[in-house]
Symmetry: C2
Subunit: 449 residues, 2 copies
């Protein structure tokens, strides 16, 4: 990633670079991005989701609504006016537009299962892996409060990473269970939120770091120590054992009992989906954002240098209703981070040659342009991605061009080939060359794609 | 379209509407959009183009560069600053980003064949069919000055509209031919540009309207009349006859001769591509924008209420070089207008029921959720887009929901079906219902998709 960073900084000098914090995606970069989003789209659609598309910018009043992103994110929001002096801002996530659409279309039959793949914008500090325009891939189920909806989101997540070829672990937890567990361990109600934020950092800052924070936040030493030892003990266990142990700790705490019931239901359904192997119950997981009300999910790549999460989400039963100023509308969803996913794929495929072009065959005419056009017509009609020499170049220049582009096959058509209604097909990787009919060429290239 | 307009205005009242001039696309609207862009993508890729992706905003200095869009379009550009006080603007087209990328990457092997499908933004007056965020679908060939490149763009355009199922006509012309023709008919050099702008309006404002403009612009009556009668005479002819007649009119005008040679070459190649039938040489076509230097192309739907063009482009050999402050870099391309194309498709398919959902089957459990999950797993693994009841609703409520969503098949699984490892499949369109194995269900639904 450091190479990427250096390149970005070098480009920064030039007035022809993309704006600071944004990127151009060409060739192999773009092909990888499109492959990933296309795989996600396929999985989202198999699970019965439909796509929604909303504008790149929103009214400022929508973005800054009390129940939208909050003050922190507004600081990082690009803001501007239209000519009618309307206040606007580039969207910072895909959840606010979803809330707006649901709130504004009260007659939509529920549940709404929607996905969205699109750019979001945050004018924040630049760090490795953080950009000012980046693509989020979100799936959300709006209107269902069942554990089956939770389980579907987790199962979809597992299938997505399997389809992407990433070895992953899905960490889940339940906010009610976590909050109730803390309550039952004597954490004062007014400190719940802030204690959760500290515990959420366990993987990052370790036991001592969290304990220090908890004491600074006013927890007593015995409570802080007890809390951490319970959480660390539970972190060693399988999901069913965690649930069993929790049941003993929480006593009669109603919130924790509710969370426990929800979590058990989700794991039962995950068992039906055949997905329990990849799912870990991590009692310290909270996902900072306060709007989660039940399930929380975070996904990490196994054995990867990428340590940040590659997807995250959960249940947020209150957000949409408050946003719409209506009764609660339950919802659960997950967001896939395209940049982190691409980084994992690039690192794990380090040795492999990335695909640089979509073009399968490059047609070179030697005084036979009409015949080349006719061949290109036939190849394209057969679904083969075909380019023709557009520069009237020599064979050697054309071979050099095709090779630089990363095109695998070259079809050479001169008077001899034209006469025989054939072509000379060269495989640029192996160097093999053969006089072939067009039908055989179509068969060979279709098979090798 | 008037219905759409009224709805937009109604929504405008609500703070939960999309910002003025922008739109939300849900369900059938989004499905149609995605089908169109996916068809275009397929054709672009068959012709050997690769996708580029650039940011939604650009540096203001890039957007306002002398050789970019010009003063008129800057007035309609959304402008803002980042926190570092950098001047930025939302892109108003996909050509400026292309110029920037080509200019900024001087080592790219030419030709570059790139396509881009993305939002562009114009804060202009709202009219029917004009929006403030809209998607352009651009293909461009950069680096080739050959007629084969021109012909490929035209052939691709024909294939795209055939694939979209739109009956179309491609109008083409050549700026050199048009300018030379006017010169040879005594139009003063300093009036060429403005005369061309008037002639370009022939289809819109008619012969009298254009003549009035030409006289106001200072052409003498005989020249204006001659010009119009020649152009109208040529408009009745087939392309080869137009070229034949032009040859007689232009005499020794070098520019016109060059344009004629180019146009002849393009038509010869189009003949090789098998595309001359759908292509008309319209000598009055100029496409306002001054940056075109050779071929100009504009596409219209035949027998449609949509009178505006549905795609347009041409050759611009000077723009990129000037932008990059380098020697000339020839280029030719075309831009497809998603909104106009969708409008044509919606009007021509008026009778047909639009596709409202991607979901093929909706699974309803009657006390058999685990079995339903297992069936959904199998259907999804077979590539069938499947939703499950997530609300624990009654059969009748579930049937109502599925029907409202526009889902064609419902699979009901109760204890009886679960026991037999079967399901009851109901076709909501025909009302037919049948107890089936899962394998048979997969066969049936795959076949009917």
């Amino acid at each position: 990633m450091s190479k990427e960073k250096i390149e970005n900084e070098k480009l920064e000098d030039s007035s022809l670079a993309a704006p600071r914090g944004t990127r151009d995606f060409l060739f192999e970069e773009k092909i990888l991005r499109d492959e990933v989003t296309s795989t996600l789209k396929t999985i989202f659609e198999l699970y019965g989701f439909n796509a929604f598309e909303t504008p790149a910018f929103e009214k400022w009043e929508v973005l800054s609504s009390k129940y939208a992103g909050g003050a922190e994110i507004l600081k990082e929001t690009y803001r501007f006016q239209d000519q009618g002096k309307r206040e606007l801002g580039l969207r910072y996530d895909l959840t606010v537009p979803l809330c707006r659409v649901i709130a504004g279309n009260s007659s939509l039959p529920l549940p709404v299962k929607r996905y969205a793949i699109g750019s979001v914008f945050r004018d924040g500090p630049l760090k490795i892996g953080r950009y000012r325009e980046f693509i989020q891939c979100d799936v959300d189920i709006v209107g269902s409060k069942t554990g089956l909806a939770d389980a579907e989101i987790v199962s979809l997540t597992c299938d997505a990473f399997t389809a992407l070829g990433i070895d992953y672990v899905v960490k889940v937890n339940n906010r009610k269970l976590l909050e109730g567990l803390l309550e039952s361990m004597q954490v004062p109600a007014n400190k719940l939120e802030t204690v959760i934020l500290s515990i959420d950092k366990l993987a990052k800052i370790g036991r001592d770091g969290v304990q220090k924070e908890l004491l600074e936040k006013g927890l007593s030493i015995p409570i802080a120590k007890k809390l951490l030892s319970v959480i660390l003990e539970l972190s060693e266990l399988r999901a069913d054992q965690v649930l069993f142990q929790c049941e003993k700790i929480i006593g009669q705490n109603a919130k924790a009992k509710q969370g426990l019931t929800e979590m058990k239901e989700v794991f039962d359904f995950l068992d039906n989906f055949g997905k329990t192997d990849a799912v870990v119950l991590d009692i310290s997981l909270a996902r900072g954002l306060a709007y989660y009300t039940g399930l929380v999910v975070e996904v990490f790549a196994k054995n990867s240098e990428v340590k940040s999460s590659i997807a995250g989400g959960g249940r947020y039963d209150e957000l949409i209703g408050k946003f719409a100023n209506r009764e609660a509308i339950p919802a659960v969803g997950i967001s896939f981070g395209l940049d982190a996913i691409n980084e994992v794929l690039k690192l794990q495929d380090k040795g492999a040659k990335p695909k640089k072009t979509l073009v399968s065959v490059y047609v070179i005419p030697i005084k036979a342009i009409p015949q080349c056009i006719s061949v290109a017509n036939q190849l394209r009609a057969a679904g083969i991605r075909t380019a023709i020499d557009l520069m009237n170049r020599s064979i050697s220049k054309n071979l050099e061009y095709a090779s630089k582009q990363g095109i695998n096959y070259v079809a050479i058509i001169g008077p001899k080939e034209a006469e025989a209604k054939k072509l000379t097909l060269r495989n640029l990787e192996t160097g093999e060359e053969k006089l072939m009919t067009i039908a055989d060429t179509i068969m060979l290239i279709s098979r090798s794609n």
